[in-house]
Subunit: 343 residues, 2 copies
Amino acid sequence: MKNLTIALDVMGGDKGPLVSIVAAIMAVEKLPYLSLILCGDQDTIQGHLRRQKALNHPQITIVHTTQVVTMGEKPLAAMRTKKDSSLRRAIDLVNEGKADACVSAGNTGALFATAHLILKTLPGVERPALISALPTQQPNQHVFMLDLGANVFCDANVLYQFGVMGAVMAEQVDGINKPRVALLNMGEEDIKGSDHIKLAAAQLAESPDINYVGFIEGNDIFNNKADVIVCDGFVGNVALKTCEGVANLVFEKVKEVFDKNVVTKILGQFLAPTLKKLFKTLNPDQYNGASLIGLRGIVVKSHGNANSKALFTAILEAVKEVERQVPQKIKNTLEQELLQGPK
Amino acid sequence: MKNLTIALDVMGGDKGPLVSIVAAIMAVEKLPYLSLILCGDQDTIQGHLRRQKALNHPQITIVHTTQVVTMGEKPLAAMRTKKDSSLRRAIDLVNEGKADACVSAGNTGALFATAHLILKTLPGVERPALISALPTQQPNQHVFMLDLGANVFCDANVLYQFGVMGAVMAEQVDGINKPRVALLNMGEEDIKGSDHIKLAAAQLAESPDINYVGFIEGNDIFNNKADVIVCDGFVGNVALKTCEGVANLVFEKVKEVFDKNVVTKILGQFLAPTLKKLFKTLNPDQYNGASLIGLRGIVVKSHGNANSKALFTAILEAVKEVERQVPQKIKNTLEQELLQGPK
């Protein structure tokens, strides 16, 4: 394996630096060819590393930063005023070629705005998108969904580019051949939806490189009808968070069922570990990393609430994207699409 | 109880006329003051009524129609060419004052387009909206969500009107005093979302009659943070159908957990009835009626896939809206809002 380096924004996230540092140690112990640059307050990081018996770990270096972007901070203000924040430095390291990717559990808006400003979009990409792999009814099979909230509104061209970007992710990260790309709509029929969705559908259908399979509705997201589902960031964010809401609702209601009487209580205790594991996979936002794609560098976002396991998963996701050269592949595919002439 | 009459589109829905007719018999047997007008093919209806031993039921009359709007038919074409369809006649009866409400499990688009054309919107209402009561984590407590798919895009004024209409529904149908109204957004902070959502937020916040509680995210739909959740029809439709998708996914995954070994299989069989009941309530689209509100008449839509129980529930929903005079109350509230001068 080729050596690679990932910059980690240690100060981001709701839970403080310790979870990032524990995740970092897990990652370097798993992958001997991985180097991590921990961006954050040097004393804090060294203290934690010492307590975790990982001070002076050969695969870990520290870049000292003096500022922290808080979770509630306004993205544009953070971008302008916090040029020595851990979040900003992690992105700078990617831009300077000192890291191959960055990972953060910090302020989502600030991460997007800063990454967009510093790393810039790839040629042919108008807007970056947030993408994540959701579970499906098929065991071990994912569906990639984008945009999950990087943009409020997306026109037809942007949705079409998201289709191309999503297909590259499914192909490179999950190894799917000719991934099926669908547009999320309020009906399956051609006449349904807004004008820009119909236009994006026409563009995707005409593309020889994209295996476009048509419109899909919310109830079919998890049915293995598509490998990539494209929508604007508003709709994607609502859909993703609604999943989380339903999963929590079901969890509460199932607990109520088990709490009914002594017998169900015993059954519940027996099943609890398996059910808990199940509900975790149904909270993809919380338990997997999401990637900001379409930029000239790799940026993986972990949930603000992420624990060490989730951050560790996000680091592995970043490693995968580096190894598969996702940005380069997106660039190549879009160039090829554009070369094939006007649609 | 005052006598009231409801027109039922017997030919609509995926399952054929029998489910509507069984639902009709259930409803008149429960409510002695209810009359039902069954719109559809007279011979078919009489045949079913005879087999159900309800021919010549004093509370049931038949209006013979010669056309059927099929489920896949284009709404505008159906509206123009099928003026003697069961769907159209049910709406006509409301418009002519011969029925107090109509109920259909038929083609959703055709029902909306026809109801909009024939019944027209109330003064002050630009667009009708599809509304339904979803379950929450609080037992026996609902949240009303609109628009669930009657409109693709809604501007600020329309969203504001939906807030008013939803508050009236929550107040009249569920008896909630000063219902909390929220806007569905991709973040809770004021700066999040599109311009028209921010504008709608300002309008709702300024209204003295509306208890506006701010933005809400998808994960909080079921958390009892609001009694009414407002969004455009595209977003609402995706959110509602995503609920259905997640509920089905969880159901499948829970089944997998139970299928693991002999012990879990026995536990599964023990818990199956309770869990099945739970998952039904999590498919609100399928198991409750949704109402098309903002019109000069009451229109309740049952899922195309509805069984007799679901259609019976939809008829009871229509009865409730007639008794509480929902259209009149929406009209009064909007007039009062407008009288209070410019916002």
